[in-house]
Symmetry: C2
Subunit: 86 residues, 2 copies
């Protein structure tokens, strides 16, 4: 499935979460990632994320069965041009 | 259409962008918003956003014709429970 992930982490744990998300998804902006994941990969990502998360930390996942159902538009500076074309 | 909006703004302009996005969408986390917009509303939102944006500021929009094509999952703290149930 196609996944958009957005996290809101305490500064102390943000580096760890960034590293984790980059292992599974493509970074597109600040705390936003996207990519294609299997159900098993998504499950592993969530388990690992929960191990990092504490207190107010939060993670939102938007899942779409097909990437074609989702159109992306960037207004202004594109932060990671390479990742966008992967 | 159903829209997810994520911005990455310079601290100087973030309050203005937050105010603008709240006029059109529901705030769900940090710099993330979602909601149903018509084509005309989306166009207005983009025009207004571009007036605020400078330099490295960036805005990403994910658009889906139907909200049912997109499943949302929150891991950890839900930041704005009221907006989620609107």
């Amino acid at each position: 499935m196609y996944v958009i992930l957005v996290y809101d982490m305490n500064q102390k744990r943000v580096a760890k979460m960034l590293k984790l998300c980059r292992r599974y998804l493509h970074w597109i902006q600040n705390s936003v990632f996207e990519g294609e994941l299997t159900g098993v990969q998504l499950k592993s990502l969530k388990i690992e994320a929960k191990e990092i998360m504490r207190g107010d930390d939060s993670l939102i996942l938007f899942k779409s069965k097909d990437e074609r159902w989702l159109e992306k538009e960037v207004v202004g500076e594109e932060k990671n041009k390479i990742d966008n074309f992967l």
